[in-house]
Symmetry: C2
Subunit: 199 residues, 2 copies
Amino acid sequence: MARPREFDYDQVILKITEVFWAKGFKATSLDNITSATGLNKGSLYASFGNKEAIFRVALRRYVGEGPFKKIREEVPHLDSLDVLVRLYAKLISEAGVSKLGRRGCLAFNSGVEVGHQNTKLSQFVVKEVDRLESFFHELIGEAVDESVLPRKLDVKKAAFRAFAAAFAIREMAKFRPDREMLAEIANSALASLGTERRV
Amino acid sequence: MARPREFDYDQVILKITEVFWAKGFKATSLDNITSATGLNKGSLYASFGNKEAIFRVALRRYVGEGPFKKIREEVPHLDSLDVLVRLYAKLISEAGVSKLGRRGCLAFNSGVEVGHQNTKLSQFVVKEVDRLESFFHELIGEAVDESVLPRKLDVKKAAFRAFAAAFAIREMAKFRPDREMLAEIANSALASLGTERRV
DNA sequence: AAAGTTTTTGACCGTTTGGTCAGAAACTAG
DNA sequence: CTAGTTTCTGACCAAACGGTCAAAAACTTT
């Protein structure tokens, strides 16, 4: 060992995540990051690499948290369909709050910003968004297993519809933060899953 | 009159639109615009103003075209619901084509990029996205009048669901250009409108 | 042909960008 | 205490950024 690092790695990543989340990849400058974290460029580059590498670490960790983990911790013993309903409810209620709810989702934001490009970064972002989708796939599969969703459901397609609804709710909140309207998206998706439950 | 301008105003706006569409507002540089149009900065600024003003002209014109105009011209005598179905079909089929279909929609892209900010530009973008939504509102209203959609429909909510589906199809094509999956979004929205028609 | 007006041109400006690096500082091991 | 290793600091860099402007060019009018 030599000189120990003075910052908390996890906390710094959280700060970095906030910046990219609020401003997007391109619009976030290194100065934004240095002033948000207190680190200077040298430390940043020694720990992470360049701007793209910093972004990757933040996005990977963001997606790694998963959309349902927190809900399951806060309210245990929910069936999988209720977890989905509660996620929608959370996204919708947050959408009204100016800065927190209208940031969208870091993964979706990134997918929209760079997903269509043919860069390494684009491939990485798409992979992370796919990971996010797989959480929905798991959840819908579980809901079928729990018999809270019909067994005849095409899980892949159903999961994608649920995923797409989350996408629309989160991202449309950026320019249309109207809870009643966003709830339409959630409830329409829930109906398409063959359940009577609503948000 | 004095020295006449050497460029075609409309053509230049189209070129500018392409650039912003492909790269986004922030990521588009003036150099990108000058090399795409052949104009230099001086001419650009004399004709339009600054970068933001250039962008506004492009976006306003883009939205002004409307999503249904072209479809109605190409295939006349369609009922309003068929216009919607054909729009979805077009968006879905284009989503496979690499650069054209995966650009998303200029208005949606812009809404996601700057819609949540508290800037003048953000307000303008949101206004333009609202204009886009109003096209869907008109269309759904017409479809009800034509009795191809149930009269009991809440037109505002139904229009928003149709709008949200277009948003999801267009923007998710950026990172998930899978026609079968995107069709799920369209058909789920159509079902929620109370019609049997599918894409 | 001269005067007046507008467009075009390209050089120019200050600022911000992502990125680098030598050296000081802070630790551990011997 | 010294040597070795890693982190931290701040100055520094070239390139790209949005934006400006004087002068040349191209037209109309008289």
